[in-house]
């Protein structure tokens, strides 16, 4: 058990180091940081000073070490475009993205799981067939098109919901939240639906196929033979065994929702990390890009590790030989 956890941790650290190396190479060798930070007419002396200040005259290995230790403490350097510390930029933007992803994931679960269970239990019903077709189309429609359609219908034609920004936000410490104002909540609806919709179709299909699988297994047949009610069989036995793989997939999807938030935030001008990243890509603002890369990689590695450990904790079959990871 302990050996497994240690090995898993080591693996995660290696991945993070690899990502840090990519980020470092990006920062150091894509364009000249000194030229990007100083105005065109800066003197040679200024350039030399900045070079020393950034530590660019040290050996490359030393630079990498400084970069890694700095990053581990949350020091990401200074944005080329805004001339401000990247940490400040991220701290401003992070709450918006986290709230968006959280609400979208909640929406996906609340809608997707019941739909999946329903279409597994009534496999040949009209409603489940409609759901299947709709979800197939849903997977083929690019998310930004979904977003545009949502805006067109609910903001332009019906004029019910706002189509950009976060509405009024309240500051609690450094965190800004849109959860406690009406306009904040209203602004959350469309972006969260857009970000969650793709996951809804995914979760629905997953729950459906998992549940169909479980319903075919022997212990369900025996439960029926014992004379249990449909309700007890479906929800006490089948549903509980369906949830395990669903939780892992949803966990892994949480990471990719951060990435897809880039698109949502662009469509709705949502002031989160994704919008920051897109602006950085557009201006080749390398420090912001590498900071974003490291943060997202961290989220991914963390979620992956938690899911692996959860598997290990839940599935007793893995614990005998220590698994094959």
């Amino acid at each position: 058990m302990l050996a497994f956890i240690l090995r898993r941790l080591l693996q995660s650290v290696m991945v993070m180091l690899a990502v840090a190396l990519i980020a470092f190479v990006m920062f150091r060798f894509v364009g000249d940081p000194v030229n990007s930070m100083l105005p065109e007419n800066a003197s040679t002396k200024d350039r030399q000073e900045l070079r020393t200040q950034l530590g660019l005259d040290a050996p490359v290995m030393t630079q990498f070490w400084i970069f890694v230790t700095g990053t581990a403490q949350g020091k990401f350097g200074i944005s080329y475009r805004n001339k401000r510390p990247v940490n400040d930029l991220i701290a401003e933007r992070l709450p918006a993205t986290l709230e968006l992803v959280f609400v979208a994931a909640l929406f996906a679960l609340i809608v997707g799981v019941p739909m999946g269970v329903y279409s597994a239990l009534n496999r040949h019903g009209i409603v489940s067939n409609v759901l299947q077709v709709v979800s197939l189309i849903g997977i083929s429609v690019p998310t930004f098109v979904t977003g545009i359609l949502l805006i067109l219908v609910f903001s332009v034609w019906l004029n019910w919901l706002p189509s950009f920004g976060r509405g009024d936000v309240v500051k609690i410490g450094w965190w800004t939240t849109g959860f406690i104002t009406i306009s904040g909540l209203k602004s959350l609806v469309l972006p969260a639906v857009m970000l969650g919709l793709f996951q809804v179709t995914l979760i629905m299909r997953l729950v459906r196929s998992e549940m169909l699988e479980v319903l075919r297994s022997d212990f369900i047949r025996f439960a029926r033979a014992r004379g249990l009610t449909d309700r007890a069989v479906h929800f006490g036995h089948a549903f509980r065994n369906t949830l395990m793989p669903v939780i892992t997939i949803v966990g892994l999807q949480l990471g990719s929702m951060f990435a897809f938030a880039i698109i949502t935030e662009t469509v709705f001008q949502w002031p989160g990390m994704g919008l920051l990243f897109i602006q950085a890509v557009n201006f080749a603002d390398i420090p912001v890009m590498s900071a974003y890369l490291i943060l997202v990689a961290f989220v991914f590695v963390l979620i992956n590790m938690i899911v692996d450990l959860l598997y290990f904790a839940v599935d007793p079959r893995l614990s005998v030989t220590g698994g094959s990871t």
């Binding site: 894509v30 083929s140 805006i151 067109l152 990435a259 880039i262 698109i263 897109i278 997202v296």
Partner: protein, 311 residues
Amino acid sequence: MNISNLVSVKTVVHVLDSDLVYSFRKSRVTVIATIVTLGIILASILSPWIAPHDPFDVATLSLLDSELPPAWVEGGDARFLLGTDNQGRDVLSVILYGSRISLAVGFISVALAMTFGIFFGILSGYFGGVIDALFMRIADVMLSFPTILVALLVSGIVRGILPREMHENAALVVLIFAIAVTTWVQYARTVRGSTMVERGREYVMAARLVGRNPFAIIFRHILPNVLGPVLVIATINLAMAILIEATLSFLGVGMPSTNPSLGTLIRVGNEFLFSGVWWVVIFPSLTLVVLVLAVNLMGDWLRDALNPKLR
């Protein structure tokens, strides 16, 4: 002469008689999807000749024609079937030219990714060892991130390397490169897997005993046997490449508005949504969705048809 003719007729009959063609004709959805895809491809290739207007010829544009609704809506003009945008450009023509770019980026990036993927996959599957381990670790890391993120990152880095004034002209190349770099891993993975299986087969052993050199064995003997699954991935990836291109262009880091693809058109049209000018954004979106859906359906069918388990 006569004999070779006979052979080709025989081959054609043989092909038409195969399981694949039979299952294709049986699946009505696939037939429709193929017709739609071919139709869009044909229309986009022929766009300079069939487009009712030349949207890039400024002399023919008139601001008097700007923001006209589609022909069947009140106030529409029969000259502009799908309406016009804010500069008076015909939406239908712009879509035709736009899908040409989308398809070009799709096909070229798939071909590029396929070539690299097959090459590296087959080498690392045949030889194994350190190179194999290195490639597969890279593949692991790349596959664990969403493709759109990797594509964004690659295009960001390339933009950082290129001088700023080159961005617009190089956009097409940057896009193709970014998509190919993001997707080659999937081919490499698959090809590596099947190569490792083929490597142990008797015909490979025989070729080795005869003393053929390793590269001849790899490219003359093994390559034809590992191409099947690649075809499926390529079809599905064509839809994905088109989608990534559209997304990047929509996000503003793809094709510039002077040379728009479908994604660029959607981004530009999106800005006019609030003035009630819905047709400028809806029709390109619709084209994109139909195209991606059709290619996806073809890919799904091909995957099932080539899967021996489902026969």
